[in-house]
């Protein structure tokens, strides 16, 4: 059974729990492997957090808008996040993280992008000047 949900959230980290709950509910009802539920939830949570942190530098919390579209079936998890923020966040342009060196040096930035890249099979980003930022992540069952 295909699970589809469209959510509109604001640039407020208080919204993160609701998105995580939707991801879990969708995976549980779609036939997508439950063993991947935690990992996919983590990647989505980190992606939304990054959008909230980076796309709205001058917008008060609660005033920016992010459209989230989740579509899940037994073989594929897909999430699309479109925001109207002024800055774009492109996880592909972030430096590759050497996690061992990273944590041993006490640096904590970049861990979210590392988790997104490590967990998801596809991370695609599109930015249109004067338009909206779009981030799509896909995870396959196999």
């Amino acid at each position: 059974m295909t699970f589809e949900r469209n959510i509109v959230i604001s640039n407020d980290t208080a919204e993160l729990a609701m998105v995580r709950d939707s991801v879990r509910e969708g995976i549980e009802s779609s036939g997508f492997p439950l063993k991947l539920c935690n990992r996919v939830t983590i990647a989505v949570d980190e992606a939304i957090t990054n959008v909230i942190e980076h796309a709205f530098p001058d917008v008060p919390a609660g005033k920016g808008k992010i459209d989230v579209v989740i579509r899940i079936d037994a073989k594929r998890f897909r999430i699309e996040m479109v925001d109207d923020g002024m800055l774009h966040f492109d996880p592909r342009k972030c430096d590759t993280v050497d996690i061992e060196q990273h944590v041993s040096s006490g640096r904590d930035s970049g861990l979210g992008v590392f988790l997104m890249r490590r967990i998801m099979d596809e991370v695609e980003y599109a930015f249109r000047k004067g338009g909206r930022n779009r981030l799509v992540m896909v995870k396959y069952a196999d």
Binding site: L16, A17, R39, I52, F56, D108
Partner: protein, 153 residues
């Protein structure tokens, strides 16, 4: 710079004789809405070791309060922490970052941050990030306290 939350997450910090609610104005509706995004921190001491029992979620929203609590404890001179994670149902990189920063700070002064019994979701994040290289992760508080004694010595 991380976005600041528009509302204070409900944090309970309780000691043996005291429970403090940092956001007493939280409405019943907010309680329901943020049920899965609240963090409770319970503190007790064993000699010079600070034992923190975390329950709830440590995500991009609640990490702010965890960070504040840890900074206050470190500023007060504490340098050895045992953090119980069995009832922490979620951790994001922002929460991991708090642990990394505290570990980095206290280890420079002979201290340490020892983690105990992470829940499956938390353990999964630790495994992906390879945090075994940075933290001691113990199966029980007793084992962690024994290791803490060696640090203290």
């Amino acid at each position: 710079m991380r976005a600041q939350p528009s509302r204070v997450t409900r944090i309970l910090i309780s000691s043996s004789n005291q429970t403090i609610t940092l956001d007493p104005s939280t409405s019943a509706r907010d309680d329901e809405r943020q049920m899965s995004s609240s963090l409770n921190i319970h503190q007790r001491n064993d000699g010079s070791v600070v034992i923190l029992h975390l329950s709830g979620t440590l995500d991009g929203h609640t990490f702010v309060e965890m960070e504040r609590a840890m900074k206050e404890l470190v500023a007060a001179g504490n340098k050895i922490f045992v953090v119980e994670l069995s009832e922490l149902t979620y951790i994001a990189s922002a929460g991991v970052g708090v642990f990394i920063n505290v570990q980095q700070t206290v280890s420079e002064h002979g201290g340490g941050l020892l983690l105990v019994d992470p829940s499956p979701v938390v353990k999964e994040v630790f495994d992906i990030l390879g945090l075994q290289a940075l933290f001691q992760i113990h199966s029980s508080t007793e084992h962690a306290l024994a290791a803490a004694e060696r640090l203290d010595g």
